[in-house]
Symmetry: C2
């Protein structure tokens, strides 16, 4: 039976790995910086392994640093039930994003084992590596590697310190040969993921649980603005080509455009200027672009309008700007049968779980786009997400784990 | 006699120290990154010393890392003629800002010595340390220390790597006790500085040389904007408190306000966001503020209007912003007699030098505000300044050195 106290203890225990509370800021919750492919993420894998091994699970780490904990089933060759989430966080993130899904998966499967359930097929708990992409700029890394959807060369993509993905993997003891991380989609009966909602809809609806119908598509790009580097004192206002002022106009235009397209969102989360001295007019400004919507047409519309307005901003100045697309994730509809199963499982714990579109990207996209039947359950979260204030109550998390347990029982023991 | 070829060779030689041409950018001129209080600045002092020592100069470095090269005069106790500029550059700056003033001072004094001039009083060439303040955020450092105008604690001000000014000085072999850098203003007959104009006025006027009447006042500050860190996908546009979007509105407002106040300029040269991940709405944004004008009232006006508009931007969002003043430099009128002398010296080399207000801050402010008669001469420069493209022709530089030579002869041999 789901043990809420044990679940809460484990969420807390996992949050100690990469804990980076900033005493200078008024943060009343645990801040976590557990970046993908870091030593901290590795320690998180070891901790989760220590929870499952006593219950008969065998641990395996693949070349992409994904962790699989396999609980045996009567037919070892039958397609497995895969359930989990990711173990990394953004810098100064919270305790629940990703971690809650792994903790609830462990709780659900271990509860089943403890209750004497007999699995007809193997059940695997997975901890995906580097979902956030905070370090290397490439999100959903581990699940992309597992389902043949990796679109980067791990030898060439580097973090700010110059370390490549392949070097980071080798530092963790992996071979760096990611072909070995591939899984056959046919070998997976279903993939289930529990995750905090990362938005306010469940909170507003007064619902602890939700079922995901679709995951938004995402466009990630990098914008570079070229202006003219010059002296901050001796260059009169009328003769400046300030890259940061131009970028500011573009950032405001992007916000206005995204606000005008229903269900679309757009964010500039990173910005740097060169040379970056207080008495020098910026000659160059680079910023990130993150555009999401539940329809591809909406993403394209925001991008087109943004390009048009940016061209207009630069038409007068005769300076340049450029956009480099980095990563596009397709809009992902999830499996209808699993939607029904998860809704019924939630009903079994007394909750009428509303159906939601996920505004955030999730590892679930990769198995789903590779043809694996995929379902997602959201747990109500307050205080935002990707921030130390994100918060899921233990009572809600335990309901989620219980619903997951019911769904896994249905899929694995039948 | 001024040796233009030697002057050109030395400008080139000095530019090799800290040379950091970026092959990825289309730069056709030498890029120099010779930051204040760095090992590179130290090597520049050694090089300049090697130019002067063969001509009878004795070198002295003070505890603020300023370099003095003293050429003896008949009365060793008479107030000295001090002439020079600074030896540091901004990151990815050019060959001429600061360096030209030191090279021309050396050329002028050495030419006088070579021509058999007998100094009645000592003549000192000075290479000020850390004028740009690019590393520690505090400009005019060396000259401020020499004239009792330092307003920072060198043990507490640190660079991005955590090194304090005092530690940087100790790494260069200095004691770190800046009291020993103080000079008695009464012991200085006059301070002369030659500098590139850092603006387009001389170029437009077709004049190689200009004489400075006043130096603008400067306000430096740091703005911090607090928004709400949140998930880039799951937070709808209407519910965001994006610190970077708010900062963008402020940057555009600042540009508009400065453009509306005659002779004022304002620049945001540095910006950072936290947490700084592409899929996280910025919860915090910090940027630098640089406001300059030849009248204090104009600086105050820009600042007041900026504060009012910023308050308006934040009135609706219920979020916070703050401004921390870092450094204020008063508007500085230069010495009228020296203005006349420099104008006449320029006329002696055939040039009618226009009178200009300096939009940039200069080391000359510190002796002037301490009561030392101070004069400045500008050399025409094209291609901006604080950039690798800044450029002063050797012919113009040689005219400047010659005018300087004439002025020094007048001041030191009388």
């Amino acid at each position: 039976m789901t043990d809420a106290a044990r679940l809460e203890r484990r969420i807390h225990e996992l949050a100690q790995i990469g804990r980076t509370d900033d005493p200078a800021r008024e943060i009343y919750a645990t801040a976590v910086s557990r970046l993908g492919l870091s030593a901290e993420e590795q320690r998180a894998r070891d901790l989760v392994t220590s929870w499952c091994a006593p219950h008969g699970a065998t641990a395996r780490r693949d070349p992409a640093a994904n962790l699989y904990l396999r609980f045996p089933g009567a037919d070892p060759h039958a397609p497995v039930v895969l359930v989990g989430s990711h173990l990394d966080s953004v810098p100064m993130g919270g305790r629940f994003d990703g971690a809650l899904g792994v903790c609830c998966a462990v709780e659900a499967v271990v509860s089943l084992v403890e209750s004497g359930a007999r699995f007809a097929r193997p059940v695997e708990v997975v901890g995906w590596a580097d979902e956030e992409g905070a370090r290397f700029g490439y999100g959903l890394f581990g699940s992309a590697a597992a389902f043949g959807r990796l679109r980067v060369d791990p030898e060439r993509v580097r973090d700010k310190g110059g370390t490549s993905i392949a070097e980071a993997l080798r530092a963790l003891g992996e071979s760096g040969d990611l072909a070995g991380a591939m899984r056959d989609p046919k070998g997976i009966r279903a993939y289930l993921e529990l995750h905090i909602e990362q938005g306010p809809r469940l909170e507003r609806a007064g619902a602890p649980l939700g079922v995901v119908s679709d995951i938004v598509g995402i466009f990630h790009g990098l914008v570079m603005v070229r202006g003219e580097q010059n002296h901050a004192g001796a260059t009169v206002m009328g003769e400046r080509h300030d890259a940061l002022v131009a970028a500011s106009h573009m950032i405001i235009a992007l916000e206005r455009i995204a606000s005008s397209v229903p269900d679309a969102v757009a964010t500039v989360g990173e910005i740097t200027v060169k040379p970056g001295a207080k008495n020098v007019i910026p000659g160059e400004c680079t910023f990130s672009l993150d555009i999401r919507a539940p329809k591809q047409e909406s993403i394209d519309l925001v991008l087109e309008r943004f390009k048009a307005e940016a061209n207009e901003i630069f038409r007068k100045s005769l300076r340049e700007w450029g956009l480099r697309p980095l990563q596009s994730v397709a809009v992902t509809p999830l499996d209808e049968d699993l939607r029904d199963l998860l809704w019924k499982s939630a009903m079994s714990v007394g909750m009428n779980a509303p159906t939601l579109v996920s505004g955030a990207g999730h590892d679930a996209q990769n198995p789903s786009l590779a043809g694996v039947p995929t379902g997602m359950i959201f747990v109500r979260s307050t205080g935002g997400s990707h921030t130390p204030t994100e918060f899921a109550a233990t009572a809600d998390a335990a309901l989620g784990a219980k619903a997951l347990e019911i769904a896994i029982r249905e899929l694995a023991t039948a």
